[in-house]
C-alpha cells in the first residue's frame, strides 16, 4: 500500500513539474505584460511586476494604428484572422472529409499511387513552393485579398491522412448495413462515417485553426494593405529593429492567444479523444 502511495506521489510530482514547465512561458508572458518598461528590461529579470500596468493592454491594442497612420487597429487584425482561420478550417474539414473518405472506402484505379503522391507532398518544405504559389496568386489576381489568404490552405494532406486512417478503422459492416437500408457512399459518409469521426474532426479543427492563426510569412507575402493584415503581422509591428518594448509585445501576445485558448478549452474533451484514436502526438 505504501509503495503504491509513493508511486502515486512520484507520478504526481513528475506531472506537476511537467505542468509547471508548460505553464511557465504563459505565466512569464502575463507577468511581463503587466510590467513597466524598466522592469521588463531589467537584468536579472524580476518575477512579478511591482505594480501591474494594465494600460499596456490598451497600448498594445492601439499600437497598430501608429504604424498604419491610423488606418487600422488590432480590431481589424483580429477580424481578418478570425475570418481567415475560420474559412481555412472549414475548407480543410470539407476537403479532408471528401478525400479521406474516398481514400479509405472507395475503389478506383491508381488510388494508392494518388495517395502516396499526396503524402509525398508533405516532404516538400513550404519555402520551396513559396515563390510559385505567390506567382499563382498574382496571376489569378488574388494578391491582397482574402482568397490568397485562404484558398491555398484549404486542403491539407496531413488532415486527409488522419481522416483516412479514422475512416478505415470503422468496420465495413456499417457500410454493408447502410447499403441494405439504401444508402450510397455520399449518404453513408455524411450520416454515419463523419459523425463517428467527430474526435478526429475536432483534432483537425484545432490544428488547422492554430496553424492559420499563427501564420505570418504567407500573410505578409500576399497582402499589402494594412486593412488585409492579420494578428501575427500586428505582433511583428511591435518588434523594433533596435528595441522591442517587451511589456507591450507580451500584452499583445496575451490578447492574440485568447481565441486559440478558448477554442481549445471548448473542444478539449473531443481533442483528447481524437488524439487517442488517431495516435497523434499533440
Amino acid at each position: 500500500m505504501r509503495r503504491a502511495g509513493t508511486g502515486k506521489a512520484a507520478s504526481h510530482a513528475v506531472l506537476i513539474l511537467g505542468a509547471l514547465v508548460v505553464a511557465f512561458p504563459f505565466f512569464w508572458m502575463l507577468s511581463t505584460s503587466l510590467k513597466t518598461g524598466a522592469e521588463a528590461d531589467h537584468s536579472p529579470p524580476t518575477l512579478l511586476p511591482a505594480s501591474p500596468q494594465f494600460s499596456n493592454y490598451a497600448e498594445a491594442w492601439h499600437s497598430a494604428a501608429k504604424t498604419t497612420a491610423g488606418h487600422v487597429t488590432f480590431t481589424t487584425y483580429f477580424g481578418n484572422s478570425v475570418t481567415v482561420a475560420a474559412c481555412v478550417t472549414a475548407g480543410v474539414l470539407l476537403t479532408s472529409i471528401l478525400a479521406g473518405y474516398a481514400f479509405a472506402n472507395m475503389r478506383f484505379r491508381g488510388k494508392d499511387l494518388v495517395f502516396v503522391l499526396f503524402l509525398s507532398t508533405m516532404m516538400i518544405p513550404f519555402e520551396v513552393v513559396l515563390v510559385p504559389n505567390f506567382r499563382t496568386m498574382v496571376a489569378l489576381g488574388w494578391y491582397d485579398t482574402y482568397l490568397a489568404l485562404t484558398v491555398p490552405w484549404m486542403a491539407n494532406v496531413f488532415s486527409i491522412f488522419i481522416l483516412r486512417q479514422f475512416f478505415r478503422s470503422i468496420p465495413g459492416d456499417y457500410f454493408d448495413a447502410a447499403q441494405i437500408d439504401g444508402c450510397g457512399h455520399w449518404r453513408y459518409m455524411w450520416q454515419v462515417a463523419v459523425p463517428m469521426a467527430a474526435p478526429a474532426l475536432v483534432t483537425i479543427t484545432i490544428f488547422t485553426f492554430l496553424g492559420s492563426w499563427n501564420a505570418l510569412m504567407w500573410p505578409m507575402l500576399v497582402t499589402d494593405s494594412a486593412e488585409m493584415r492579420v494578428v501575427q503581422v500586428g505582433l511583428s509591428i511591435l518588434q523594433g529593429e533596435e528595441s522591442t518594448r517587451f511589456q507591450v509585445l507580451m500584452a499583445a501576445s496575451a490578447l492574440v492567444i485568447i481565441p486559440v485558448v478558448v477554442l481549445y478549452l471548448f473542444l478539449q474533451r473531443r481533442f483528447v479523444e481524437g488524439v487517442s484514436h488517431t495516435g497523434i502526438k499533440a
Partner: protein, 465 residues
C-alpha cells in the same frame, strides 16, 4: 448524433458566410500612387508618415503610399517574390546593399545616376557634395558600373558603449579604450573588480568592423574574393577567442537585446551596438550612472574605423514615369530639412553636413556631449560590401564568431573555414550551411513515396489473399 451533425453543418455554413463579404479581386496599386515598402514601426512609422504626408501635400506628380512589410528578411523575401512575378513591384523599397546587389542581378533595381544629373529633377553638385562622402560611397555599387542604385535612408554607425562609473571603480581613468589592447586591459580591470567586461552580441557587422579595425579588408579589390583568412581577420577572431577564454567577454542570447539590458542594469562595462541604440539606453539608464559612447577600438598603428550601416532606398523598375516620380521622393527625403527632421525623431544620423548645422541638430549636440559621438564617428565609417551573396556570408560570419566565443575551434581554423564558406557563398553556392536543396528534397520524397507505395501494394495483396 444527427442533431450534432446538423449543428456542425450550421457552424460550417456560418464560417463560410463570414468569408462571403471578404474583399476579392485584383488589387493592383493605384495608377497615380507610388508604393513604398518599408520596415519602420511605432514612433518611427508615425514620423515617416508625417514626412510622406507633407510630401503628398505639396502636390507632387505622384503621391506616395507607405506599406509596412515586416522586418528586413520579410521585406527581402517579398521583394524577391514580387520581382519573380514581373508584376506589380513596389516603386520604392528599403534595402541593404547586399539585397540591392541581388535586385540588380535580377534586373529589378534602377540606376539613379541619370536622375541625379537631370536638369529638372536632379541634384545640383553642391547638394551632392553636401551628403557625407562615406554615406554616398555606400550607395555606389562598384561591381555594377559604380552607379548609384540607392540613396541613404536609415544611417547609423557601430559604436562602443561604456560605463564610465564602472571603469573608474575598477581603478581606470574613465576614458574609453582607444586600442583593442586597452580594451582588453579595461575588461581585465573590471573583471578583477568583480564585474563583467564586454557583453558580446554575435553580429556580422561587429566582426566586419573588427577586421577593418585590425587593418584588414573584407573583400579583394575586385570585390569577388572574401579575405577572412587575412592576418587582420585572424587577429579579430583571436581577440574574441582569447577574451572569451579569459572570461573578459560573455555572449548574450542572439538578437535578445541582452547586452542592452545588462549594460542598462549596470552589469557590464562595455557593449558594441548601433548608434541608434542610444535613445533606448538613455531611457533605460536615466541618470543612474555615468556612461558614454565612443568609436570602437582599433589596433595599434591602424586608423580608427567603424562600420556605417543602415538601409537605403532603392527605386525598382516599373515605368519611366513612375521611376522618375519615385526619384523625386528620394530626393525630397534626402533634403537637408527632411534628413535633419528624420534624424532628430529617430536616432538615425543626418546624411547631409548642412543638416548638422540646423538649429535643431546643433541644440541636440549641445544638450549632451555623447549626442554628437556617432556623428563625429561618421568620418571614419565604412560600409560593408554590397555584393550579391553577402547576405549568406553574414550567416557564415556569425557562425564563425559563435565558434570563437565558445572556444570550439582554434582562431586560425575559424578564419580559414570562414574564408572558404564565404567564397562558396559569393560564388553563388549559397550559404555552406543552408538546408537541403529542392532537388534533394524531392529526391528523398520520391524514394519515400516509392517505399510507401510498395508497402501499400504488399498489404493490399495480403488483404485480398
Amino acid at each position: 448524433m444527427a442533431n450534432r451533425m446538423r449543428r456542425f453543418g450550421t457552424l460550417l455554413s456560418l464560417l463560410c458566410l463570414l468569408a462571403a463579404p471578404a474583399g476579392c479581386g485584383d488589387k493592383a496599386p493605384p495608377q497615380g500612387e507610388l508604393i513604398f515598402w518599408h520596415m519602420q514601426s511605432q514612433d518611427n512609422a508615425v514620423l515617416l508618415q508625417q514626412i510622406v504626408d507633407d510630401y503628398n501635400a505639396a502636390d507632387p506628380p505622384m503621391k506616395v503610399s507607405l506599406r509596412y512589410v515586416g522586418g528586413y528578411t520579410d521585406l527581402f523575401r517579398k521583394v524577391r517574390a514580387t520581382i519573380a512575378t514581373n508584376k506589380m513591384p513596389p516603386d520604392l523599397v528599403v534595402a541593404y546593399e547586399s539585397m540591392v546587389a541581388e535586385y540588380i542581378e535580377l534586373g529589378a533595381a534602377v540606376a539613379l545616376d541619370d536622375y541625379i544629373a537631370d536638369p529638372e529633377v536632379g541634384l545640383p553638385p553642391a547638394d551632392l557634395a553636401d551628403i557625407f562622402p562615406g554615406i554616398l560611397a555606400g550607395n555606389r555599387y562598384p561591381t555594377y558600373g559604380n552607379l548609384y542604385y540607392t540613396f541613404p535612408f536609415t544611417k547609423s554607425v557601430l559604436m562602443m558603449y561604456y560605463n564610465r562609473d564602472m571603469l573608474r571603480q575598477a581603478g581606470l581613468s574613465g576614458e574609453p579604450p582607444v586600442t583593442w589592447s586597452e580594451f582588453k586591459e579595461a575588461c581585465k580591470a573590471v573583471r578583477a573588480a568583480g564585474r563583467q567586461g564586454y557583453a558580446l552580441s554575435v553580429d556580422a557587422s561587429t566582426v566586419d568592423a573588427m577586421v577593418m579595425s585590425f587593418g584588414g579588408e573584407l573583400l579583394d579589390e575586385a570585390n569577388r574574393r572574401a579575405l577572412f583568412d587575412s592576418p587582420a581577420s585572424l587577429a579579430a577572431f583571436r581577440l574574441i577567442h582569447d577574451m572569451a577564454r579569459d572570461g573578459l567577454c560573455y555572449q548574450i542570447d542572439t538578437r535578445s537585446y541582452g547586452d542592452r539590458k545588462d549594460f542598462a542594469s549596470g552589469l557590464c562595462a562595455f557593449m558594441i551596438r548601433s548608434s541608434t541604440t542610444r535613445p533606448y539606453i538613455e531611457k533605460d539608464i536615466e541618470d543612474r550612472f555615468d556612461w558614454d559612447m565612443a568609436i570602437i577600438p582599433h589596433a595599434e598603428g591602424v586608423d580608427p574605423v567603424t562600420v556605417l550601416f543602415g538601409a537605403n532606398i532603392a527605386v525598382l523598375r516599373t515605368t519611366p514615369e513612375r521611376q522618375r516620380a519615385a526619384w523625386r521622393f528620394v530626393r525630397y527625403f534626402s533634403s537637408s530639412e527632411v534628413t535633419a527632421r528624420w534624424a532628430m525623431g529617430t536616432g538615425y544620423l543626418p546624411v547631409r553636413a548642412s543638416a548638422a548645422k540646423t538649429p535643431a541638430v546643433r541644440a541636440f549636440f549641445e544638450e549632451r556631449a555623447r549626442n554628437r559621438r556617432a556623428f563625429d564617428a561618421l568620418a571614419h565609417a565604412r560600409t560593408e560590401p554590397g555584393v550579391a551573396g553577402w547576405q549568406a556570408v553574414r550567416t557564415e560570419i556569425e557562425l564563425a564568431e559563435a565558434d570563437a566565443v565558445r572556444n570550439r575551434i582554434p582562431p586560425k581554423e575559424i578564419a580559414e573555414k570562414l574564408s572558404r564558406e564565404a567564397n562558396i557563398a559569393l560564388s553563388g553556392g549559397g550559404s555552406g550551411h543552408s538546408g537541403p536543396t529542392a532537388v534533394s528534397i524531392l529526391a528523398v520524397a520520391g524514394i519515400l513515396a516509392a517505399l510507401l507505395a510498395a508497402g501499400l501494394r504488399k498489404r493490399n495483396r495480403e488483404a485480398t489473399q
